[in-house]
Structure formats: structure tokens, C-alpha cells
Subunit: 189 residues, 2 copies
DNA sequence: TAATTTGTGTACCGATCAGTATTTAAACTA
DNA sequence: TAGTTTAAATACTGATCGGTACACAAATTA
């Protein structure tokens, strides 16, 4: 098995699903836009849902890598890194390919809670929350769980609104509120 | 024109779109589940998109009415009403028909920024933010815009996460952070 | 009662959907 | 070089999609 072909399919499908939606992207569209034959696709994935799942797993990897790397680049201390979350978000929102959170979109289209698509999406969010929680603990928050939940919800709200309102504004607003939450969790004696 | 039939179609379509998704709900499904003939539907709406738009407008009305009413019932002062937002959300999340925000789902499926569906969704969110902002002003926040934006983002994050994680937890967490933001905006001299 | 509007049932349209069969060719492996 | 795996092109399947045509029934209006 040559893994490169499979990877090529997943990478290209991910991009097309992201900008077009899942139901709205037909397998024929994928064939037309990628130049890869349908036979090859069904050789590597037994169904469209399987391909979607693979794309979501790739996205999960990509996002985690980018998120944690960028936060560490934008902030030097755990505390500044907590705030840097929102600088990283702003950069993301500013990209013209930005089109919201892939997992929110996936779970919006596949509403069955038992669907693996829904499961992957919630797992993804849980692990992002976990990343933030580790940062909050390292920063010495008096209630790391409370702080990380607050920052996480601000982040999620900002992502949704950046998509809907089509701008980077929500990142700035989220950062302002994040500053308040961080100050309360770290400054108070 | 008898308006009752049109209303019946919109009300029933709203519910079905909400629990099944937009692309995933075929017009034939609507016919089967409502018992209303397809001819009648296309008599009142010139396309599926038109019906979706009507359903979203109804949802906007319904949500606003419920939201503002429930906040006023759950809180006596502007300040307690700001906090009551999250009690209202918790009630919403606890309903077993709850399946996330209809407008987030709509804009997740119809990704074209120029689509009227996208427009209705962003208008809806803007007016919710406006409702919160009015409350923040009445409460005497030193920076009402900042406070209302923060609470709004917490609310949006909580809605998304309640859907993904399938629980009411996010409302409680959002409320805890909201308390911090409200205290900072109202208590500090 | 006569005319008009509105809803229904049914059958249909061309397009498109996810997925498959078949054949042929190219590329890797032995 | 022979054999095996993988990709490709093409054409197809049955189901379903959004939307329409048509004939008929019920209710409203005049």
C-alpha cells in the first residue's frame, strides 16, 4: 500500500469539505476538483463518511499542532501564553480561507449523537480544553478548571462569531474578557 | 390567502430542519413528516431555500421572545438579569429537543457569505448581542460594550459546547466566568 | 348558485446522489 | 522480465434530489 495516495486524498478532501460543507460536497465534486478518480477514492475509503472521518482526524492533528506551536511562539510565560490564545485566533480568523470551526460544522450537519463524526468533534474540543487547562495549571491559577473553561468558552464563542460576522473582531473582544478572567484567577491573593 | 396554512408549513418545517439539518432534510421528507402535500409547499414558497429562510425568521422571533421573557422572569435587577442569561441557557440545554443553535447550524451548511441564510444568521446574533448590551447599560457597567461582548461570547461558546458535549454543564461554567466579568465591570469603583 | 382561489394526490421531470463493475494501463516487486 | 498491486477512465446502477404538470376536490367569495 502506498500511503501517499491516501494522504493526498484526505488532504484535498479536507480542504474541499472545509470550504464547501459535507452534504454540499458530492463525491463527483471531489473527483472533479482533485483530479483523483472515484475508483481510487473508494479503494482507500469504503464510504463518504469514512473519508469525512479521516479528514476530521487530520484536521484535529493539524489544528492541535498549529494551536500549541503558535501559542508558545506568541507567549513566553504560561500566563502570556493563555492570553496569546486569542492572538493566535486572530491570525487564524484573518486568513481568507477561514470559514469557522470544522468540527462545529461537522456536528451541525451530522446531528446524531452516536455518529462517529459527532464523537470525533467532541473529542477534539475536549482535548483543546485540556491543552488550555494544562496552561492554566502551569500559570498557577487558583482554580485552573474554572479559568480554562472560561477561556475555552470565550474561544469557542469567538470562533463561531468570527465565522458568522466575517471578521477578526471577536478575537480582540474575547482577549479583553480573557484578560479579566486571567487577572482574577492569578492576581488575587 | 389563508395565512394559517403557510404558518403551519413554516412551524413544522422549522422543527424538522432543526432536528434533522437542512441538506439532510429533503422536501419529500417534509411532505412525509408533515402530511402537507408538496404542491402546497411550493404554493407558499418558491423554493426550499425560501422555506428555510422563513423558518429562520420564525426561529429568530421565537428565540428573542423566549430569551428576553425568561431573563426578566429569572432576574429582578439588570445585574441579576445579566447572570440569569445563563440560567435561561441551562433550561434550554436541558430540553431533550435541544440540538444547538439553529443559526450556527444554518451558517455551517450555507457557507456563502452573501447567502441570505448567512445574513439572517448574523443579524440574529447581532440583535442578541444588542439585547445583552442594553442590559449591561442598564446595570451601569463602566464599559457596557466590553461586558456585553464578553457575556455574549461566553453564551455562544456555551451553546456550541452544550450541543457538542450533549449536556448542560457549559451553562454552569459560563455562568461562573460571567460572574467574574460582571463583578469586574460593576463592582470596581 | 357560479366563479375563483386554495389544497391534494399522483405521477412525473431531469439532475444528481453514493457507490460499483469493467477494462486497461502503469508502477512497484520478485 | 514476469507477476502483482494500484490507479485510471468510463460507464453504469438504483435511489433520491428539488421542482413541476395536471386533474380534481374543497372551501371561499360574489
Amino acid at each position: 500500500m502506498r500511503p501517499s495516495k491516501r494522504d493526498e486524498i484526505v488532504h484535498k478532501a479536507l480542504q474541499i469539505f472545509y470550504e464547501n460543507g459535507f452534504h454540499a460536497t458530492a463525491m463527483d465534486t471531489l473527483v472533479a476538483k482533485t483530479g483523483i478518480s472515484k475508483t481510487s477514492m473508494y479503494n482507500h475509503f469504503k464510504s463518504k463518511e469514512d473519508l469525512i472521518i479521516a479528514a476530521l482526524r487530520l484536521r484535529d492533528e493539524q489544528f492541535h499542532e498549529w494551536f500549541n506551536k503558535r501559542i508558545k511562539e506568541l507567549g513566553t510565560t504560561p500566563r502570556s501564553q493563555l492570553l496569546a490564545i486569542f492572538d493566535a485566533l486572530k491570525e487564524w480568523f484573518a486568513q481568507n480561507e477561514f470559514s469557522g470551526c470544522m468540527f462545529i460544522k461537522a456536528s451541525s450537519e451530522y446531528l446524531d449523537f452516536n455518529s462517529p463524526i459527532h464523537e470525533i468533534s467532541s473529542d477534539h474540543k475536549r482535548s483543546i480544553l485540556n491543552d488550555i487547562n494544562l496552561l492554566a495549571e502551569k500559570a498557577g491559577a487558583k482554580d485552573a478548571k474554572k479559568l480554562s473553561c472560561g477561556l475555552f468558552l470565550l474561544m469557542e464563542g469567538a470562533i463561531s462569531m468570527a465565522h458568522l460576522m466575517h471578521g477578526t473582531h471577536s478575537a480582540t473582544e474575547a482577549k479583553a474578557s480573557a484578560r479579566v478572567l486571567i487577572a482574577e484567577a492569578l492576581d488575587d491573593k
